[in-house]
């Protein structure tokens, strides 16, 4: 999964965003550009979070923007974004994120493999610390997770 997102250049690095909506849109851009997703998928992610709250923030610093499969998704992929400053999803700092992993799925088996790898890698706090220190695709390439 990490290998594929690096090969396909599905990553971006930013300083900060004024709103979480801007951050989610930016995080999705590489997938929009290579037609993995359509703009309506981004709208679906934003409207779900607006409706239900910041449930996509799954751990300190980490969020996984995604919506239901089917609408505006053409392929199964994971896309990475990192911001230098925390993006606030609510007034509670527990809902701050710097590491974004956008999920898109049309194939549940592949999607599950991606999720499994992602969840194992992100459960390794040392790996998360390394991710938080990365500033470029080049540096991302040199990172290794024991799972991938």
């Amino acid at each position: 999964m990490f290998k594929e997102l690096i090969e396909k250049k599905r990553y971006s690095f930013h300083e900060s965003f004024a709103t979480w909506q801007d951050a989610v849109r930016a995080a999705c851009q590489p997938l929009l550009a290579d037609k993995t997703i359509e703009a309506e998928y981004i709208d679906a992610i934003i409207s779900k979070v607006t409706e239900l709250g910041p449930y996509i923030v799954i751990a300190p610093n980490i969020c996984i923007p995604h919506a239901q499969e089917g609408v505006g998704v053409n392929d199964t992929a994971v896309c990475f974004m990192k911001t230098e400053k925390s993006v606030h999803f609510s007034d509670n700092s527990e809902h701050d994120a710097k590491l974004f992993f956008v999920l898109a799925s049309v194939d549940n088996a592949v999607h599950l493999e991606n999720l499994c790898e992602l969840s194992e890698c992100l459960s390794d706090e040392e790996f998360v610390d390394k991710l938080l220190a990365v500033h470029s695709g080049e540096e991302l390439k040199n990172l290794t997770c024991s799972m991938s």
Binding site: E51, L52, Y55, I58, A59, H66, Q68, S90, L115, C116
Partner: protein
Amino acid sequence: MLKVIAACGSGMGSSQIIKMKLEKVFKKLGIEASIYHTNIGDAKSQAANYDVVVCSDSLIGTFANATAKKVIVIGLKNLLSEKEIEEKVLEKIVNAQ
């Protein structure tokens, strides 16, 4: 056999991660369980038929009715922390019995 629902907004991201983590924790603790993952709307309508609902902390308000019907609702701050999941399973399921 414990019947568990893992829920998230869409049923395809966080809820599947919760399911993977729960399976590990249940295995470690020797708890037999079947875990179904789904979206929040479906989970809400089915919760009364299950023993336990596990979801992100930010979604627990949705399950107020289920709590009233004696369904155990567990909200997680960190979905990736097996430590947090284990502590909450012990507190709310194992030691509550």
